[in-house]
Symmetry: C2
Subunit: 430 residues, 2 copies
């Protein structure tokens, strides 16, 4: 079998980069035999060249000059693992413009500039691959773009942030408050000292944008994604959901609504029998509905050096094979279909609402009238407690977001409603 | 974008073939836009040319002469959907020898002759693709062979037969007996009039062989797979498992044991918290453990014209792109690693054993001595019932199959043991 060596220039050498270097070193022979190509990291750009690193790479491969790697004619593939937009974006653009293929695990970059980079890759006749940018070690981009290329994906619902899923699992299984569960996640290294990107849904929103772009063959950026985090969830929300047979998850949802795209990240109650309900701790899973294939789910580790490194190496092998045997990455050329992003108020959802109310005859009628007038139809309603503790609990049919929010606003202003105790979306009902 | 037309010659026009023809017709423009190739079925071999078919194909594309399609220079790709070995195998061999790529959904063919066909494909420099041969609409072959090419898969546990999973779900959720659940499956079209291939595990064994071959890059045929069906499972087995927090599934297991391969299909108790436990009805799922990626699971529809058709079209697109833009299928050349298949007696497993016993002092000691002498270690044991109904229930630690079966044989011969009420394997414990 051919033993052409493909030389990789790596930008950044953090957790994922180090894992990639170690695996290429220890499994190099296996990879060469299976893939028909040998892949070697021959240059690495890092900020501090002098720093000691636990990677099987000679010290002379390190440089502080990332641009020199991108321009180096002896580098066949650029592996970008810097994260963020600057300097990642100009470096990746420069590589692609020069016809040099790029593998990246940078979700911020692809979420913000994926379409432009796909166009640059198309123009430069160079591959651009980013399996590791979404859900770490789970193959998703390739199945969506290639295996399902003959189908029509209509909806994606993902648990794509391990940190928040760990926190929600703690709250659900141990009754922890959000702050306690977050502290535990930080203690175990699942959450950063500043957890904003995770708990406010920014990380999930970036992944949502990438999944929507690939699945619906259109241009969606992270800024297009409606976003609610999990910081306002209470132990009571979680317990109430459990009592009703639901599990609360932070979901990234991308769906086709007529020809528009709806993209959103928010917590939601999922039926306990739904495949996503069983995704615990830091695991990720992405549930896909397609016209022909029906329901699919992909489950695995969404982060970590080794899992994400596996996705990176799968991409490197693909690109290396193209350089060796010919062929091009299947997929977008960055033009896409230009689908409209549906404003959140025009999307449809199902809602759970717990209202602390006055316990007197006529209250239900008064409240039901507000729902009805706004065109929000009620699937189930029941009273809990009585007297000072009386609550009315509603689960709606699927309703439009705007009118539902207007309903809640009007209810808050009623004397009969003492407080809105919980408001949660419901997803994944039959 | 290029509008080269790739002409497919289809052998067979049953459920999957018809679905493929319909989807190519209705989604043809989408596919051409996304994949950069247009795919058309231009000839179809069927037994009865005159028969009316609900497919959007002109009557003149049909022929009874399959070989003429394989030899036709105007056919770019052969799509083999005949099933079985004869005449599928000689036709596929002839196509590959002539350098014509083949897409097939024929699990019997790949399970029996996969390595030889991979070698023929390699020699003929033609692609061979068979995503639809395992778990219908779930992308598995491509993720295993490509996305995980840089990793080392150590174990695969699959629920890969929808018929038996439907039957077991009925038994589990409605307390049905096997015969009742089978009749229901037949009534709904999930089971054939002769259900042998499904309920005796032949279908799962073929899929197990294919998964093992791809994951471990070696040659495993369906004849290598140890096989037990579900016909002897009782409603009591299922109920006992449920009481202990387990769900009974028919599993296809392929694992590396040192450098050997162990391949087996049998029912087993799976912990209710395991991702496979939640796979209900006719759904399939394949759970994968790899050194770097960790635990992965792929879930979806394992059969049916549309789901399997999606996999077929994904493969056709791949092959069509290679013909148009260059490149070759990544994967085996049929030589493989030649790993040894470990005999069932040498494999290791965990076991649940329910014994109807004499209720008198000393019985547990007598029975435990038999376990101990054979080197089978007990994890838990407890007594249920008393007097005439006394039972001892054991769950072992992981033990070697041979000594465990010898233990059971010896126990059957003891007066203290009135009957072996249940014997079930346990899989998926931490």
């Amino acid at each position: 079998m051919t033993e052409r060596v493909i030389r990789v220039g790596m930008l950044g050498c953090g957790t994922v980069g180090s894992a990639v270097a170690r695996t290429l070193s220890s499994y190099g022979d296996d990879i060469a035999r299976r893939a028909g190509v040998r892949i070697e990291i021959t240059r690495v750009a890092v900020r501090d060249v002098a720093r000691a690193r636990d990677v099987p790479l000679a010290s002379q491969v390190f440089t502080a000059d990332a641009a020199s790697i991108v321009d180096d004619p002896d580098i066949d593939v650029v592996l970008e693992l810097l994260g963020g937009l600057d300097p990642a974006r100009p470096l990746v653009e420069r590589a692609l413009a020069g016809g040099k293929p790029v593998v990246t695990g940078n979700k911020e970059l692809i979420a913000a500039a994926g379409a432009a980079l796909e166009a640059a890759a198309h123009a430069g006749a160079a591959d651009l691959a980013y399996e590791a940018a979404v859900a770490g070690g789970i193959p998703l981009i390739r199945p969506l773009r290639e295996s399902l290329a003959g189908d029509r994906v209509t909806r994606i619902i993902g648990v794509v942030n391990g940190t928040t899923n760990f926190i929600l699992t703690q709250m659900s299984e141990h009754g922890s408050r959000f702050e306690e569960a977050l502290a535990e996640a930080q203690r175990l290294g699942y959450a950063e000292a500043d957890p904003t990107a995770d708990v406010e849904g920014f990380d999930a929103a970036a992944k949502c944008a990438i999944l929507a772009s690939v699945a619906f063959d259109t241009r969606v950026t992270d800024a297009d994604v409606y976003r609610e985090g999990i910081t306002r969830l209470t132990a009571r929300d979680i317990a109430d959901a459990a009592r009703l047979g639901y599990v609360v998850k932070l979901l990234a949802i991308a769906e086709l609504d007529e020809d528009d795209v709806s993209v959103r990240v928010h917590p939601a109650m999922v039926p306990a029998s739904h495949p996503l309900a069983n995704v615990r701790d830091a695991y990720n899973a992405v549930f896909i509905e397609a016209d022909k294939a029906g329901q699919l789910m992909f489950y695995g580790r969404g982060a970590g050096g080794d899992p994400s490194g596996t996705s990176v190496i799968g991409d490197l092998i693909r690109v290396a094979r193209h350089l060796t045997y010919g062929g091009r990455m299947q997929g977008a050329d960055g033009t896409g279909l230009g689908r409209r992003i549906r404003p959140m108020d025009d999307t449809h959802g199902q809602y759970y609402l717990n209202l602390h109310v006055e316990d007197r005859p006529g209250v239900l009628a008064e409240i039901a009238e507000v729902f009805g007038r706004n065109g929000v139809s009620i699937e189930r309603v029941w009273q809990e407690g009585f007297g000072e503790d009386a609550a009315l609990v509603f689960i709606t049919h699927r309703a439009q977001e705007g009118p539902f929010q207007k309903t809640v606003q009007e209810l808050r202003e009623r004397d009969a409603v003492r407080a809105v105790v919980s408001l949660l979306r419901v997803e994944g009902e039959e």
